[in-house]
């Protein structure tokens, strides 16, 4: 609603001053939110810049040496050896490996559960699953990391005979537990936003509930389900404590998910505490942080863009002009 502006009203000058002052304070708090995001980018990015510009840093590491193999053909991450090595490839492979496992397990379970609760479940089951997901979302990631490290790792090793107790499968399952709540929530929102008339129409034409869910509701909600997956991926890539605790933290270059590994986020968490302020290593860790920020930022933008598209679609708006016949 648009109330009259305060200065149009017949109020005392002092009251008008108070009114203006408070409006300014409230307005600036909204700016702080935008500023916070910008400051995060600026202050994390600032410490990453010397990687590109500083000659001193270049004696130890350059973008080229982080990406290309060493003279002996190896890619290794050993920042605190006599000759520090900063190859990002083992960390990248580790990050992708664990994210892949987490999404492979987490996405189907979360989307499946969302379909079940919005399409098939009786009211009682719905009221059991939703609080359970909220409970799962409320478990701090350090507790999931603890569980993965202390309990899950032992179970999985006993069951599958892994050589490495801590590996990408163990950490990936832990990470899936962190991804499931966000994917479930967004996907469930999208599915239940599909108007009931869609379902009624389909059922009236003789389709059963499964056909209605699979051929009508799911396609209608697709942008939202896709958004859920993208936001889940963003969460998985940036999650730190679970991976830090359950990955084994060995920066080995291997595609095998049953070996120990190290991710970008865990590398920052494990190494920044002991690093010399202003050293090449320090700047490399901030570079990793800036990289994580940019990747998750883009995934978030993409996710919310899809959510907006879903809203437009269900309201019957189309961003593309209608095709001429």
């Amino acid at each position: 609603m648009a109330p009259p502006r305060s200065d149009d009203l017949l109020i005392r000058p002092r009251a008008r001053l108070v009114e203006r002052g408070i409006e300014l304070a409230i307005r600036s708090s909204a700016f702080i939110v935008i500023a916070a995001l910008v400051l995060i980018f600026v202050f994390v990015g600032k410490e990453a810049v010397p990687i590109f510009t500083s000659a001193e840093v270049h004696e130890e590491v350059t973008i080229g040496s982080m990406v290309a193999p060493r003279a002996d053909g190896a890619f290794s991450w050993q920042p605190v050896s006599m000759v520090p090595k900063y190859s990002l490839l083992p960390l990248l492979v580790g990050t992708l490996k664990v994210t892949f496992v987490a999404l492979l397990l987490g996405l189907p379970v979360a989307v499946g559960a969302a379909i079940f609760t919005s399409e098939f479940a009786p009211q009682a089951a719905r009221e059991l699953v939703k609080p359970a997901v909220e409970l799962l979302a409320g478990i701090p990631s350090v507790v999931i990391g603890f569980f993965a490290l202390m309990v899950l790792a032992t179970w999985l090793q006993d069951a599958f005979g892994f050589v490495y107790r801590l590996n990408a499968i163990t950490a990936g399952i832990g990470l899936a537990l962190a991804v499931i709540p966000i994917v479930y929530t967004v996907a469930e929102d999208a599915l239940s936003a599909v108007p009931q008339t869609f379902r009624d129409g389909s059922l009236a034409l003789g389709a059963n509930r499964w056909q209605t869910a699979w051929r009508v509701v799911l396609p209608a909600a697709m942008p939202g389900v896709f958004a859920a997956c993208v936001l889940g991926a963003g969460r998985a890539i940036g999650e730190t404590m679970i991976v830090l605790m359950a990955s084994g933290n060995a920066a080995m270059l291997s595609l095998d998910p049953s070996t120990s590994f190290r991710s970008f986020s865990a590398t920052i968490a494990a190494e920044l505490g002991e690093v010399v302020h202003g050293s090449a290593h320090y700047h490399v860790l901030f570079f990793l942080g800036a990289f994580l920020f940019v990747v998750t930022f883009l995934l978030n933008l993409l996710g919310h863009w899809y959510i907006g598209r879903l809203r437009d679609r269900l309201q019957g708006k189309s961003r593309r002009p209608a095709r001429s016949p």
């Binding site: 609603m1 648009a2 109330p3 108070v18 009114e19 409230i26 708090s29 909204a30 702080i32 939110v33 916070a36 995001l37 400051l39 995060i40 202050f43 994390v44 410490e47 189907p108 379970v109 989307v111 499946g112 559960a113 079940f116 399409e119 098939f120 699953v129 609080p131 359970a132 997901v133 409970l135 799962l136 478990i139 701090p140 990631s141 350090v142 507790v143 999931i144 603890f146 569980f147 490290l149 202390m150 309990v151 537990l177 059963n208 509930r209 499964w210 699979w214 940036g238 999650e239 404590m241 605790m245 986020s265 920052i268 920044l272 994580l292 920020f293 998750t296 930022f297 995934l299 978030n300």
Partner: protein
């Protein structure tokens, strides 16, 4: 053909149901395991005493104290800022304005920034920029705030939990009937008078929900405080804003990964995890209760 369709339908429904069952099972297994193993060690001494004998005996009082002080400071910072932002978005701004769109975009993205990046931000901005700046200006270059400490950890968590508070508060503002505002405006109230006397008193519940959810989230986050103030062991409790502190989540992380004797610390570790879960779930539960009351009112209007 119809039999085949019926079979596929049943299989599909069963499979999605299985997904739900899997989620339920995982929640039960995790919480059950922690409850079973942590319960025995839990005692009044455990939550009220200092740790002894290399963390294998005694209690975790300093970690509980540190967590409480940390989240209280965080709340002091995040609630006024979050509520003001929500009031701006819902009461002051024109809904189609570009600024509103930008603020919402920033909030959505802030909620998606990885926790570890907040840790880097806290170190780079609060400690090295703000902290060292304060030292230069007020302490003549002597080290006071240019180091990891309670204040900077709390502010880092405040930035992290800001979206939670804004979203919860805005939901409560939305639940205040439009007619209340119109009645107040009709009697000649100014915008701030309407907000302060009519809208905010009606949305106390939402602000409370936001604050509780933020505290629950903040109490469980470890990555942002790794470099901004948490310490593994301190022989004293934090007294000043620039002291370091012990914290429950950080305590769990260090005990789990760096303990020389995992078997000896295991009972204590489980009990610590249980305490952390009781804190975060207790708070979450309180928030759910308050929120369901607001939602009920939202439905009535």
């Amino acid at each position: 053909m119809t039999r085949w369709i019926r079979f596929v339908a049943a299989a599909f429904t069963g499979l999605t149901g299985l997904c739900c069952a899997a989620i339920l099972a995982m929640v039960v297994i995790i919480l059950g395991d922690i409850l079973v193993h942590g319960w025995d060690r839990l005692s009044w001494e455990f939550v009220s005493a200092e740790p002894r004998v290399g963390m294998t005996e005694g209690g975790i009082f300093p970690a509980i104290f540190g967590t409480v002080v940390l989240v209280l400071l965080m709340t002091l910072a995040v609630v006024p800022l979050g509520v003001a932002t929500a009031v701006y978005l819902h009461e002051y701004a024109r809904q189609d304005s570009r600024l509103v769109h930008l603020v919402r975009l920033a909030l959505q993205n802030l909620a998606g920034v990885p926790a570890i990046v907040f840790g880097l931000f806290g170190l780079g901005f609060f400690i090295q920029f703000a902290g060292e700046g304060i030292d230069k200006v007020f302490f003549g270059g002597k080290l006071a705030f240019g180091q990891p400490c309670l204040l900077w950890a709390a502010l880092t968590l405040a930035v992290l939990t800001l979206p939670t508070v804004v979203v919860a508060t805005e939901e409560a503002l939305r639940a205040v009937p439009k007619s209340y505002r119109e009645a107040a405006y009709a009697m000649g109230a100014t915008r701030w008078q309407v907000v302060r006397r009519v809208v905010l008193p009606q949305s106390i519940g939402g602000m409370l929900t936001g604050a509780i959810l933020a505290v629950s989230r903040g109490a469980g986050e470890v990555a942002p405080i790794l470099f901004t103030g948490a310490a593994y062991y301190l022989p004293y409790l934090p007294k000043k804003l620039n002291d370091q502190f012990m914290e429950l989540g950080y305590h769990i992380y260090v005990l789990t990964t760096q303990s020389p004797d995992v078997e000896a610390t295991k009972p204590i570790l489980y009990a610590t995890v249980l305490v952390l879960l009781m804190v975060t779930f207790g708070l979450n539960f309180a928030a759910i209760l308050v929120r369901s009351r607001i939602r009920r009112r939202l439905r009535q209007t």
